[in-house]
């Protein structure tokens, strides 16, 4: 006899839903076709709650919670859409755009970019903050790929996929706060690092920060959906 599944019932946007006790609000919402925007979350990778775009409201709490790491609870009442949440999400996106140099028109992932698509889905029409326009480096030392820090949003998907799926842990984060950077090995050029050249980081990168060399202008769709299937195969399911 299989062990009894611990089932919780909760309400998301007024809809009664049920979930396993180990599920997150984000997972349950998506199972029930309730859209919550995300950037750092990717199915098949661990969650870190870095981007805060999936913030939701929970009844009787003044705090906002990131849905990707919020476990379901019995009787929970969750709101995923409100003016307050939209304001926060738009502000987060504005901060992302202002922080580094995101120039869609000349980016390899123009029309294939999750940051761009999320900004559109959240109705972001302009950025009210002054752009920081930092001078950031481009690492083109790898024979197959390029890392452009200008377009990085520090979602750390590359770090997680390299560690959790490829098992190489070439990528990591250096520095703190506004000075944070994803780096290869201990800040060695990518081309001289222990990188296996598998390309998983490039495919899961939501923007044009990591891209195939020689891809140009809107010519770079990405296919991050492979991760859950890879996990299933490895688990022998």
């Amino acid at each position: 006899m299989s062990p009894a599944v611990d089932v919780k019932t909760l309400v998301i946007d007024g809809i009664d839903v049920s979930a396993r006790a180990d599920q997150t609000v984000l997972e349950v919402a998506r199972e029930n076709n309730i859209f919550i925007p995300t950037l750092c979350h990717l199915d098949g990778l661990s969650d870190v709650g870095a981007c805060r775009l999936c913030l939701v409201e929970v009844k009787n709490s003044p705090k906002l919670f990131p849905a990707c790491v919020l476990k379901v609870e019995e009787g929970m009442e969750v709101t995923t859409k409100s003016d307050r949440l939209l304001h926060y999400r738009q502000t987060i996106l504005e901060l992302l755009f202002a922080e580094r140099n995101h120039v869609c028109s000349v980016c390899v992932t123009n029309n294939h970019c999750e940051l761009q698509a999320t900004a559109q889905s959240q109705g972001l029409t302009h950025v009210r903050l002054p752009y920081r326009s930092p001078r950031l480096g481009v690492d083109a030392s790898n024979e197959r790929f390029v890392a452009d820090q200008n377009r990085c949003i520090l979602c750390t998907r590359c770090v997680r996929v390299c560690d959790e799926i490829e098992g190489a842990h070439v990528w990591d984060v250096m520095g703190r706060g506004i000075d944070s950077m994803v780096i290869t090995d201990l800040m060695q050029p990518w081309g001289e690092s222990s990188c296996t050249r598998c390309g998983k980081c490039v495919n899961v990168c939501p923007t044009g920060a990591l891209f195939d060399k020689t891809k140009v202008g809107s010519d770079h769709p990405k296919y991050p959906d492979f991760v859950p299937y890879l996990n299933m195969m490895r688990e022998g399911r």
């Binding site: 028109s105 000349v106 390899v108 480096g137 481009v138 083109a140 030392s141 024979e143 390029v146 081309g191 060399k213 020689t214 140009v216 202008g217 809107s218 010519d219």
Partner: protein, 474 residues
């Protein structure tokens, strides 16, 4: 009393410019300066970017002639890659460049210049625009719009976008031509032929009215440079450059992009952000030369297409040797439109245009590369240096309008001396000073890689530098 006249902004141009005229104590114009007042810094901010991003980045210099920048940039990248573009890709890029030349020339002639030509230099400024032309000469207004639409639509069919098509990449183009698009383009040709024939007939009918302007609009002896095919015909994309002097003698021949820097220098003047290129062997300013439609027609012995050959024969009869009057740029532009349409027909009638092999691939095989193409306004050169990883470490662009800088300055002085008299400025006088600039169809945003709209003013200064009069566009 001596004074200085400033025309700021100069209108119906691409970019920002200012004209300053200085008069002497007798009230005659003694000095004239055409200044370009903004700078954009494309050569600087591209440093660090991977070289294959350059065509898309550099094309943003201009929304009118992005195709020429794309092609010159892609060719510079191909020199870095040391690859030869597949023949069909080269043909497709040639067709794209011709389409852009047609639409840009149509913009220059019909939208920017024809108000002066068809309505008169002294016509009411409120009417002296494309809407006034459309009202007074509706068939010509329609022809202009039609030719521009033809060029733009063809660019869109080939490159998926009218402006800044991402189709041209280092190594060729991203996608081959489909049969349906080829047929659609061929079907557009009859209307384009009818429009340009009508425009040529109309221009030749009215050109005689402008003898004063023909004589004084930058009409002076000096060298010309342009691309020319091996057989001496017109070429815009894949050929070497030739420079001739005012008598038609060849000064430089078969100049390739790689040798451009050895041959051409760039002088700087304190009053303008636009540089002054010159032929090094003649020195500056003697080696300053003209480029663009007039230069190309002066250099080529024939067009290389039947109808344009007839027109070009007639054009060459305007002078015994190279045609020196810059007013004739207008005429040359129309002949190039006709040739462009014929050349597109020739290219698209050949089945090889549908070949699927359209892109060569390679990495960095040289650390330096240059590329040239003929933009509508004249010769365009992109020159890059890269590091081992293919990242740009240095870039230099020599733009068509810059190469006409000296001629435009001379033209402004010549025209002002002819038309600006006394201390009372009339709109017609000032319009002629602007119109001489318009004959070159300058793109100031390209020339300084500058940003913004193109207002221009005329300023009248006393010998001590005090401003006496200013005519400014709202």
């Amino acid at each position: 009393m001596a004074q200085t006249i400033t025309i700021d902004p100069v209108t119906r141009l691409e970019g920002h410019g200012r004209i300053t005229l200085k008069t002497n104590d007798q009230g005659e114009v003694s000095e004239a300066y055409f200044s370009v007042t903004q700078v954009r810094g494309f050569e600087k901010f591209c440093e660090g970017r991977p070289y294959y991003e350059m065509p898309a980045l550099m094309a943003r210099i201009c929304g009118i002639c992005p195709v020429s920048h794309l092609i010159a940039s892609a060719k510079a990248c191909e020199a870095i890659m040391s690859v030869e573009v597949p023949p069909t890709a080269a043909k497709l890029r040639r067709a794209l460049n011709l389409a852009q030349t047609i639409q840009s020339h149509a913009l220059s002639f019909f939208y920017l210049a024809s108000p002066d030509l068809l309505l008169g230099m002294d016509a009411d400024p409120a009417e002296r625009n494309i809407f006034g032309v459309a009202k007074a000469h509706p068939e010509l207004g329609r022809a202009g719009v039609g030719l521009r639409r033809f060029g733009q639509h063809m660019i869109e069919l080939l490159g998926r976008k009218r402006i800044h098509p991402g189709w041209v990449v280092p190594g060729g183009v991203t996608q081959p031509l489909e049969q349906a698009k080829r047929e659609e383009i061929l079907a557009l040709l009859p209307e384009a032929y009818a429009n340009i024939k009508m425009a040529l007939t109309a221009y030749k009918r009215i050109a005689g009215r402008f003898q004063d302007e023909i004589d004084s609009f930058a009409n002076f002896p000096g060298p010309f440079m342009g691309m020319v095919s091996e057989s001496g015909g017109l070429a815009f994309t894949d050929a070497g450059l030739r420079m001739i002097d005012a008598e038609g003698l060849v000064l430089v021949d078969n100049l390739e992009a790689a040798g451009f820097d050895d041959c051409i220098g760039e002088a700087v003047e304190p009053y303008s952000y636009m540089k002054f290129p010159y032929l090094k062997s003649l020195g500056y300013p003697r080696g300053a030369y003209r480029v663009g439609p007039l230069a190309r027609l002066n250099i080529a012995s024939h067009a290389g297409s039947p109808l344009a050959d007839i027109e070009m024969n007639e054009f060459k009869k305007l002078a015994n040797g190279p045609v020196l009057g810059s007013f004739h740029y207008h005429h040359a532009r129309l002949i190039e439109i006709l040739h462009g349409i014929e050349a597109i027909e020739q290219l698209f009638s050949d089945n090889s245009i549908l070949d699927k092999h359209v892109r060569a691939r390679a990495g960095v095989n040289r650390q330096e590369g240059a590329g040239i193409a003929e933009a509508p306004r004249g010769t365009l050169m992109h020159h890059y240096k890269v590091n081992d990883n293919g990242q740009i470490t240095w870039a230099n662009l020599v733009i068509a309008t810059g190469q006409n800088n000296n001629a435009m300055n001379k033209g402004v002085l010549q025209t002002a001396q002819r038309f600006v008299k006394g201390d009372k400025l009339s709109a017609g006088m000032l319009n002629r000073v602007e119109a001489v600039i318009r004959t070159f169809d300058p793109c100031l945003s390209c020339s300084t890689h500058a940003y913004g709209e193109m207002p221009l003013a005329i300023e009248l200064l006393a010998p001590d530098g005090t401003r006496l009069d200013l005519v400014q566009r709202p």
